[in-house]
């Protein structure tokens, strides 16, 4: 299992246990983490699962794929650390991962 911390725009933290193999978005939705909408259900087709990966974890999660970058064009306040959480696969090495959710999901 991998522990993932979601920090909302207002600072509220939610910690969830995620099973390796699922995506960070799925871990959020399964545990009703606020701030992740995931309208398209993880198909990289909506950009409403946008998160900012904590700087300490950016190397481990890696950069967005080209298709994901295209979809990020539609997100709110995109930064260098932006990822779509449905495109981050949970692996043991991500145990302790910290991500922030943006003020809004569009």
């Amino acid at each position: 299992m991998a522990k993932i911390t979601f920090i909302a725009h207002d600072g509220t933290e939610t910690v969830v246990e995620a099973e390796p193999g699922m995506t960070v978005m799925e871990a959020a939705v399964k545990n009703s983490v606020p701030g992740i909408e995931a309208e398209c259900g993880g198909a990289c087709a909506c950009a409403t699962c946008h998160v900012y990966v904590d700087d300490a974890w950016r190397e481990k999660t890696g950069p967005p794929s080209e298709m994901e970058e295209d979809m990020l064009d539609f997100a709110f306040e995109v930064r260098e650390s932006s990822r779509l959480s449905c495109q981050i696969k949970v692996v043991e090495e991500l145990d302790g991962l910290v991500v922030r959710t943006p003020e809004k999901q569009f």
């Binding site: 398209c40 198909a43 970058e69 990020l72 064009d73 539609f74």
Partner: protein
């Protein structure tokens, strides 16, 4: 994602006043389920016209995930959204459906003779004996720009589509986006705008490379400007934009004076006018029975993602099944004098004739 380019949106401006098109059935929505409805209706001798606000067939499959694989279509272990659309088009070709793209059905009402009259936002009218609503998640509509406070300006100085090109003549224009809509409109409006600034968040564009090249040529010739960054601020009052603030990657803020902004952030599905047709709705879905898939109005059917009933699953597979039963019920309305005999496409001479394989 970006299919609201100049041709599609411009056409919407001109209403036509021709006589209504009379047909057996009108199918609202040309997604996978609307397409297969043509097949099932065709087998029972019902001719159909399809109307979709998109400029192409395939609904969600073609618009949201053309390249992605679908694994649960019976008999096709894996098929992409676009491939499924293409195969459906091939399958329904014998029934010669007529497509009406780039228009939204706005009105639906029953006529005194029991038939239905439909009118689109382009002013085209249809009269049909039955109506099949295959509207999925609703009409594909431009997404709101992800900018704080944008609501205040929408419709007055912030737009998501071009209704009349002339509205932008001699105006200082900001266009946001990196897809085909943004680039096509940039190239189209540059000659008539007073000034034009294109804003996109990164160096890579989703738009066709030749449009991007053309845009940079215009920048080179100082006929427009290009800004790398995201819109962070809107300045203005009473819905009238005066300037926008563009934040670049390094955090620097650039102010661009403007009168109007056109923003292209893809499409999303909204129920739209269906809510005004007097049908029973349940949480934006249309309740139907599971024998005929008929709505609260006799002769109006609903199939695919738009309907709901106990146990409903929003799967393409389920939508296909629904069209087969719907067609049986539609037959009784369109051809009340004819008896329907159950037949297989494998062995029935008459069905094979209709399919053009005999």
């Amino acid at each position: 994602m970006d299919k609201t380019g100049p041709t599609a949106a411009d056409g919407r401006a001109a209403p036509s006043s021709e006589a209504p098109i009379e047909t057996d059935a009108v199918i609202i929505g040309a997604g996978p389920v609307g397409l297969f409805a043509v097949f099932e209706l065709g087998l029972v001798d019902i001719k159909a016209h399809l109307i979709d606000i998109l400029d192409k067939p395939g609904g969600q499959c073609a618009e949201l995930y053309p390249e992605k694989p679908i694994y649960d279509i019976p008999g096709l272990p894996v098929v992409s959204g676009q491939e499924l659309t293409d195969r459906l088009l091939e399958q329904i070709r014998p029934f010669e459906p007529t497509f009406h793209f780039g228009q939204r059905v706005d009105a639906l009402e029953r006529l005194a003779d029991g038939r239905f009259r439909l009118v689109t936002d382009r002013g085209n009218a249809f009269v049909a004996k039955v109506v099949v609503i295959a509207a999925g998640g609703g009409s594909f509509t431009p997404k709101r720009a992800p900018i704080r406070g944008v609501e205040e300006y929408e419709g007055r100085s912030v737009f998501y589509a071009v209704r009349r090109r002339e509205d932008f003549r001699d105006r200082r224009l900001v266009i946001v986006g990196g897809g085909d809509s943004a680039l096509d409109w940039t190239l189209d409006l540059e000659p008539i705008a007073k000034s034009l600034a294109l804003v996109h968040r990164r160096e890579k564009f989703r738009a066709a490379p030749q449009s991007v090249k053309r845009m940079f040529e215009l920048v080179e010739a100082r006929r427009m400007s290009f800004h790398l960054g995201q819109i962070a601020e809107l300045h203005g009052s009473d819905g009238q934009l005066e300037a926008v603030g563009v934040r670049s990657k390094d955090g620097a803020l650039t102010r661009i004076e403007c009168d109007a902004m056109l923003a292209f952030f893809g499409l999303t599905m909204k129920l739209g006018p269906i809510a005004n047709w007097g049908l029973n709705l349940h949480e934006n879905l249309i309740p139907v029975d599971t024998e005929k898939f008929e709505t609260s109005e006799k002769g109006i059917f609903a199939v695919g993602d738009i309907n709901t009933y106990p146990g409903k699953l929003k799967l393409i597979l389920s939508g296909f099944h629904e069209t087969a039963l719907m067609a049986q019920a539609a037959h009784a309305i369109v051809h009340p004098d004819r008896k329907l005999v159950f037949q297989y496409t494998t062995s029935s001479t008459s069905l094979q004739k209709k399919l053009g394989v005999r």
